[in-house]
Symmetry: C2
Subunit: 436 residues, 2 copies
């Protein structure tokens, strides 16, 4: 089977853990059996493999997430890279063209598309397999997953099936209703639309060619920026007469807000946290290496990361986005294909960052026009090249790179470096990539 995982948005709703450069699906928040933590994308990927090791997984995502995906899932995972954000229809069209032209998947094969961020158990992936099988043999062009509602939510779209069978034709779709309306729909057997659909590859390719003028994958990729932003629902689902829905009654939690995310946490805190006995229904996620002390709190979430600190009533946390939009904060932490960096000090004429390179990885060879840099290796072994000159480096070594001088660093083991940048116009854009 082929699964396309949609790894979307920037996820400001989970600030300060997520931000423009770090999407919520990469936050390591779920405890695994060995006691370590995994992210949404790692959890989903592991679950898919556990259910059917032969499933082909393609992650449809933007350029900015590629590093983080390789970092968390390894180099083998298939990625359909969106050159920019253009909503779900262009993203699915591009992934379909990628599967067809690059992965040589046939028009008749079933593809299951689902978002990367619901919190689910393995039965969900078994349901996805059945969904794919159904799409392969059904007369319907689209088979959707309908999640059995657990309460009359006003947050979700509803699918009203013609009957209450396991698989039914869809009667009508209802966009986010009021709670009262939702109650009414649920009595009629309505299901939540979790954004999961299956189809034969050829069907979506055909719809894509009808709506977009392109020859094949590469052409679509090249003109991606010129495409109109439109969702798969608006572009395809709404115009399709012949749709089926398959019921799913297992665990399904939308991890879109702190409120729902904390429900999926196994313990009341991650990271250094102290909750006094007067705390009730409090969750703490602390990425800093100093403690968070909570006293007398009720129904609250507290999260601290290098980006900032959130202290919120759990219900109120759903309204976070506009406040985060207003925050104009230097990116303080980012995962890269080679490792990660964290900003540890900012002054007007300098910035100090801690760079961690994973074993076997390296930076690009590059130079900066407006800043000098100084590396002090604090852990590990590797090699630097500065102005063409190679040097083995280890903890305690200092490397100076004046503005204009080309440099890079290779990690033999995990390598940690304190990088001090000095200059008047420090900017991520001041970087010239060079050939080594």
């Amino acid at each position: 089977m082929n699964i396309v995982l949609l790894s979307g948005g920037s996820g400001k709703r989970l600030w300060p853990l997520s931000n423009d450069s770090r999407s919520k699906q990469f936050i390591k928040i779920f405890k695994t059996e060995d006691g370590s933590y995994e992210s949404m994308v790692q959890r989903v990927y592991r679950q898919i493999r556990a259910v059917d090791d032969g499933t082909e997984v393609t992650i449809a995502t933007s350029k900015s997430q590629v590093s983080a995906i390789h970092n968390q899932l390894g180099e083998d995972v298939g990625i359909s890279v969106e050159p920019c954000r253009r909503d779900t229809f262009p993203a699915i069209a591009l992934a379909a063209a990628y599967l067809h032209d690059v992965r040589r998947v046939s028009d008749e094969e079933a593809i299951v598309v689902c978002p990367v961020d619901p919190y689910v158990e393995e039965d969900y992936f078994e349901a996805l397999r059945r969904l794919g099988e159904r799409a392969g043999i059904s007369e319907a062009n689209l088979v959707l997953m309908g999640i059995e509602p657990t309460y009359p939510s006003a947050k979700y779209g509803y699918i009203i099936p013609e009957n209450k069978e396991g698989v039914s034709r869809v009667s009508v779709f209802k966009e986010k209703p009021t709670e009262d309306k939702a109650r009414e729909y649920i009595e009629k057997g309505a299901l939540w639309n979790g954004g999961v659909f299956a189809f034969r590859l050829g069907y979506v390719l055909q719809r894509a060619h009808e709506l977009i003028d392109f020859t094949g994958y590469q052409d679509l990729f090249d003109k991606y920026e010129s495409l109109t932003k439109i969702s798969f629902d608006y572009a395809v689902v709404e115009h399709e007469e012949h749709i089926e829905v398959m019921r799913f009654g297992g665990v399904w939690k939308d991890m879109g807000t702190w409120n729902t995310l904390t429900e999926a946490m196994e313990s009341d805190s991650i990271g250094k946290a102290i909750l006094n006995e007067r705390c009730e229904n409090v969750h703490v996620v602390n990425e800093l290496n100093v403690p968070v002390l909570c006293m007398g709190l009720k129904d609250m979430v507290v999260s601290a990361s290098p980006e900032g600190i959130l202290v919120s009533d759990k219900k109120q946390s759903s309204y976070i986005k506009p406040y985060v939009d207003e925050i104009d904060q230097q990116i303080m932490f980012a995962e890269k294909s080679w490792g990660n960096f964290r900003v540890i000090d900012i002054e007007e004429g300098s910035m100090t960052i801690k760079v961690t390179l994973n074993p076997g990885h390296r930076m690009n060879y590059h130079s900066h026009e407006h800043r000098d840099e100084v590396w002090t290796v604090v852990d590990g072994n590797g090699k630097t090249i500065v102005d063409g000159v190679e040097r083995q480096v280890t903890a305690g070594d200092v490397i100076q790179m004046p503005a204009g001088v080309a440099h890079t660093i290779f990690a033999d083991t995990k390598l940690q470096v304190i990088e001090v940048q000095i200059g008047t116009d420090i900017s991520v854009h001041d970087k010239k990539k060079l050939k080594l």
Copy 2:
């Protein structure tokens, strides 16, 4: 007049702003007219000067606070340094001996002793002056300030005067009562004991000589460690028949807990903070350079510093001490006589700190046995001496100091340096002071 300010304890009750190395009286939390912030000790010192520029101020404090006091009040302030902590009677005896032997104050002169940490207005210092004047002419050996209670607190000691005149003989002292008892006392005209007393210098010196075997200031200083811990109340006040109390009806707030501290804050936040419109009676003190976002909070205090993060119901915050006692946290920020340092990264084999030297100041000349150090100057101008060799330094300069090599740095302007320490046994104790 002579005022002795008692600058006491470590103030864990205001964690994370205060800790073992940073007492609450040095936290810059009060907004001044020019928009900058001042600490308790700065506020009190400024208020004393405003009321009477000729007042001699002596700060009785422990060795560990001397740097911070000079840093905040300048070099001119008189300090009676306690070699270690021995409660208020030894501290006042030492300060009295200091005033007599070092500052040559006569036995007949009035001394006013008061804690450094109540939040008061200038009328309080006018009252202190009257208290001193009264002590100079009164037949009583001690004149105490009695604060008119604003509510029946169970937190304070009460002074019950013989009558309700401005100055009265004390009838009896009552230790922290229940609220009901407190109500009863207040009806009888009881006053809070704010720990403020005035006396003629000779009186306290005489009591000191009765209780401690010492010849003069230097002798008392030398044997300070051997003294018994005992409060001035137990050692002196309880045994004195002839005590007066002077009523004070002005503003007086005890700054001992977050609850009372936040009452004295002029705005609801200090530092980067966003409070949504659903927040009620919330105060934020944020020393980090990333934002704190608060949503839907009520009656709460949030404070973030390099040491940690507190999120507490205001009333619960009074019970903070045992939780802070449990925290075994590396000191992350400290004020020194020459400036301050902040730990910005800790790894097993390294620590990175940001050192800020004030203009004209310098470190001691010193070396480390078990660690190499690397300085990268990020701002300002100064001079380093490494292994006897002088060098002018400015932003961008890198100085390497292998273990065992003597080094120091002088600041011509404000000087900021990123110091990377590399070694397996990094400790504040690994420091050998050397002669330059």
